[in-house]
């Protein structure tokens, strides 16, 4: 099976700081792939580089067999790749419905957008209920639902999520993980950066362990759960 997304030698640099130092990984169609590691390991930088929010210093990113390394961020959602950013970053001053409408901004196909509205309101009845409310007035958990719903509006093939459970109450965290499993069931491939290692390895198929901008371990979720690379990555920071 050809991977949906594949990187080789991916490097990200902020001025003199090398955040990601040449990593190779792939995400296959229908998988949930977890990216694990301590703060500053380069996980978020990797995701941001994939979607063009930070420039790739060197290396390549291929999506659906096409080189997207230097494609601008605004072209990727219509191509089927999008990111739920860390900290949710919903548009606080827009209503719930306006946030969702923006999620489908780059999609020309009206039928696909109409379907996306139904699918998202179906996944998140609470968003349908609060469609006229400003996103800034939602609770943290609802904002996370909105951020995911907004990303789903573009009908992504690959959905990247950066710390989707960060800062949420335990009950809501559980809902988010259950939701990710449901999304995969609906045919969306997922790449997830998570702090909650144990829980994300329960839902993931495979994972990569990052430390100091390099991949220091990889394997199936079951292998990683017991691997030394994983505990080492957190201890060494």
């Amino acid at each position: 099976m050809t991977p949906l997304l594949k990187t080789s030698g991916l490097m990200v640099r902020y001025g003199p700081v090398e955040a990601v130092r040449g990593i190779d990984f792939e995400i296959g169609e229908g998988e949930i792939v977890a990216f694990l590691g301590a703060n500053g390991a380069g996980k978020s930088s990797t995701l941001n580089a994939l979607v063009g929010l930070v420039p790739v210093q060197s290396g390549t990113v291929e999506f659906l067999g096409r080189d997207i390394t230097h494609d601008p961020a605004e072209t990727l959602a219509p191509a089927g790749l999008t990111l739920v950013p860390e900290g949710r970053r919903v548009f606080n001053t827009l209503s719930v419905a306006e946030n969702l409408r923006m999620g489908a901004y780059g999609i020309r196909d009206k039928a696909a957008v109409a379907e996306a509205w139904d699918r998202v309101y179906d996944l998140f009845p609470i968003l349908a209920e609060r469609r006229g409310q400003f996103a800034g007035t939602l609770s943290g958990g609802q904002q996370q639902m909105l951020a995911i719903g907004r990303a789903m509006m573009s009908g992504p093939k690959l959905l990247l999520l950066d710390e989707p459970s960060l800062g949420l109450a335990p009950l809501i965290v559980e809902q988010v993980f259950e939701l990710l499993v449901r999304l995969r069931g609906a045919g969306v491939t997922l790449g997830v950066v998570e702090q909650n290692v144990a829980r994300s390895l329960q839902i993931a198929d495979r994972g990569y362990v990052l430390s100091g901008g390099r991949i220091v371990g990889q394997g199936s979720a079951a292998e990683l759960a017991t691997s030394e690379a994983l505990s080492g990555a957190y201890l060494d920071g």
Binding site: L53, A73, E74, F91, T93, L94, R101, G106
Partner: protein, 297 residues
């Protein structure tokens, strides 16, 4: 009482023009963090188009359309030529660039048209006045208020109902995430400039129709006032710009009407003192922008 009402009409008329100009500044500032001091030159361009159309004998309604169109096109060109190359530079760089654009245009007007003030032919109807509710109002004041109301309704509809308008609000709040949604930086910024040019064009028509003349520096004073109004309202906040514009209009007109004659020469400084007092009480303006953006393009 009649005098008060009359002055109130004047204040709404002047405040509305300031509000349109302040909105134009705020739309651009909220999206790219640029305070566009060349906004005034967009007004001047619209003013000269009115003048030339008058000389060519075009019907006034057509002249208005051409003048507003010219300001809109000029705003888009300004962005494309001057501001796009420095888009990601610091706020100071953007500000200096806008001063440069402003001065280049002023010098061009002075050398290619005239250093002096030129008369603009206006339909006689504009200088008429009508009796309403027992007092006399100038037709130009009434039309100016009507135009302001129409523009504010249009803008509200555009920003809330139109996909492009919603995208501008989204980009103003978080540009990086807006791009993730597929919102193109170039088109949303060009759209913001077009909107600011449209507003400057309408404001220019209102301004010129009260004065019947245009000169190379025409745009400077109203845009300086609009800048004060935008700060007063909360820089980058669209509602704030409207509120600030009207408040400044009221302050200026009431001071002109009610200050004793021997104080009149201190009218502007007294007005600014009132503005400073408001800002001391509300440092972020009357209706602050929701968030000072951490994320630029």
């Amino acid at each position: 009482m009649d005098f008060f009402l009359q002055q109130t009409v004047n204040a709404v008329s002047l405040g509305g023009t300031y509000a349109l100009l302040a909105l134009g500044l705020a739309v651009v500032f909220s999206i790219m963090g640029l305070i566009n001091f060349a906004h005034g030159e967009l007004m001047t361009i619209a003013g000269y188009v009115l003048m030339y159309c008058g000389l060519a004998g075009l019907p006034f309604v057509l002249s208005i359309g051409l003048a507003i169109g010219a300001a809109t096109v000029a705003a888009v060109l300004m962005e494309r030529i001057a501001f796009r190359p420095v888009r990601n530079a610091s706020g100071a760089t953007l500000l200096i660039t806008s001063f440069a654009v402003s001065m280049v245009l002023q010098v061009l007007f002075q050398n290619l048209i005239s250093v002096r003030s030129q008369p603009v032919l206006l339909p006689p109807l504009l200088s008429d006045s009508v009796r309403m509710f027992g007092f006399v109002i100038g037709v130009n004041k009434l039309l100016s208020i009507a135009a302001t109301v129409v523009m504010l309704i249009f803008l509200d509809w555009f920003m809330k109902r139109q996909k492009t308008g919603i995208a501008m609000r989204a980009a103003a709040e978080d540009f990086a995430v807006a791009r993730l949604m597929g919102i193109r930086a170039n088109s949303v910024i060009a759209g913001a400039f077009a909107l600011s040019g449209l507003l400057a064009g309408v404001a220019a028509v209102l301004w010129v129709s009260q004065r019947a003349s245009v000169d190379p520096l025409m745009g400077f004073t109203p845009v300086l006032k609009a800048f004060i109004a935008a700060i007063l309202g909360g820089l980058g906040s669209l509602r704030g710009a409207v509120a600030g514009g009207f408040l400044l209009g009221f302050i200026e007109i009431y001071l002109a009407a009610y200050l004793p004659p021997e104080w009149q020469e201190f009218r502007d400084p007294i007005g600014l003192v009132l503005v400073v007092i408001v800002l001391l009480m509300r440092p972020n303006g009357l209706i602050p922008a929701p968030a000072l953006k951490a994320h630029k393009v």
